[in-house]
């Protein structure tokens, strides 16, 4: 099988099969497993933030409800839509990459990139509102926070809530930025027909990362914006 691997019928993309692999399927599986290993450690990265959230939400449910009212769930919902749509266009990009329709693939990647920008712009408006009310954990975020009258309730719980909010959504936003850099790089390499892009696998790997970013937001949205009383 390995002797005529490059002309084997299981190799529709006619990519080079490196010597350590039995066939193209095993080689591509290895790339995807590598990416999943990375995603598993990303889950470990975000996991403790969800754990801390659960602990403080358990202890201070009332406070968390009060302060989540200060987050705009409509803007958060629009951002969820934007990310879900970008995940859809990313999946389409992988679909076209598999069928070697480069023009459509690039168009889908472009839309995904634009959605990433859109997400960050909406997020910037949300952050700006919190900065205006001194609800960002910086030097002005002291006891009691200047936003205390605006919030009511216990300012220490407010500090916990907004510290967690900025840490979690900030880390998520950082992942959006990294994802956008990956998509832009992939687009440039695809347009230039770089020798590193021989088949659909690079698009699939960038797609896995982008879907993971979407996945985190799917949980962040109800946990921060839709806290019940």
């Amino acid at each position: 099988m390995a002797a005529h691997a490059t002309t084997h019928p299981t190799n529709p993309d006619e990519s080079e099969v490196y010597f350590q692999y039995e066939d193209i399927d095993q080689q591509q599986e290895t790339y995807i497993v590598g990416m999943w290993t990375f995603i598993v450690q990303e889950i470990m990265f975000f996991g403790p933030l969800f754990l801390i959230y659960t602990l403080f939400r358990w202890k201070f449910q009332g406070g968390f409800y009060t302060y989540s009212q200060k987050l705009d769930y409509v803007l958060g919902g629009v951002n969820t839509m934007v990310l879900l749509f970008s995940s859809f266009t990313m999946a389409l990009a992988v679909h076209y990459a598999q069928k070697k329709q480069t023009k459509e693939q690039l168009r889908c990647l472009g839309i995904t990139l634009a959605c990433g920008f859109g997400f960050l712009i909406i997020k910037a408006f949300e952050y700006a509102d919190k900065f205006t009310h001194s609800l960002f954990p910086n030097n002005s975020f002291i006891w009691p926070p200047h936003g205390y009258e605006y919030l009511g309730g216990n300012p220490e719980h407010a500090r916990l809530f907004f510290s967690l909010y900025f840490a979690t959504t900030g880390l998520h936003g950082l992942h959006v930025v990294v994802g956008m850099i990956c998509i832009a790089s992939l687009m440039i390499l695809t347009v230039r027909k770089a020798p590193t892009i021989t088949d659909y696998v690079p698009t699939e790997i960038v797609g896995l990362y982008w879907h993971f970013v979407d996945l985190v937001w799917i949980f962040l949205y109800p946990l921060y914006y839709l806290i019940p009383k």
């Binding site: 190799n11 193209i24 497993v33 999943w36 009332g62 797609g207 979407d214 019940p228």
Partner: protein, 151 residues
């Protein structure tokens, strides 16, 4: 475009119709999660359903989990992937839930109280230096007490 394209050997290509269907389901679930959380506050007739935070949390996280399953299985292609990739994908989420074993500690501390463990000196919390209440999270007037801590 709508028919299922499938190489008998080699990688699976998810048809566009399946991707569109997945996207519509995800948007529907997102709208459902907002309505489930906010409807009791929009309509006066649903007032008895306000404050059921355990139920509302269960609904919100249940919907989020269903959305995650759709994203992982269809968009990330785990449904069509090899068993090795499935093991990695499932393993990551199993690890995430193992984290919550930590709550055994928080839940069980009151069962076997060590004298004085709850009286952490306020100086141990730098931002709490001016507070003589002696607990890390003092109660404030008008703030309802939540959780089982302090009992």
């Amino acid at each position: 475009m709508a028919h299922v394209e499938h190489h008998h050997h080699g990688h699976h290509i998810t048809p566009i119709s399946v991707l569109i269907r997945t996207f519509i389901i995800l948007v529907g679930l997102m709208v459902l999660t907002i309505v489930a959380a906010k409807a009791p506050y929009w309509f006066a007739s649903l007032e008895p359903y306000r404050g059921l935070w355990v139920v509302t949390n269960a609904i919100a996280l249940g919907i989020a989990t269903i959305k995650a399953v759709f994203v992982v299985s269809e968009f990330m292609g785990v449904k069509y992937a090899t068993n090795l990739i499935k093991v990695y994908a499932i393993g990551g989420f199993v690890w995430f839930f193992l984290l919550f074993i930590m709550f055994v500690d928080y839940a069980s501390r009151p069962w076997e109280p060590v004298k004085g463990w709850e009286n952490v000196p306020s100086s141990a919390f730098p931002r709490n230096k001016d507070n003589d209440a002696g607990t890390p999270f003092p109660q404030y007037p008008g703030e309802a007490k939540h959780g089982k801590d302090g009992h």
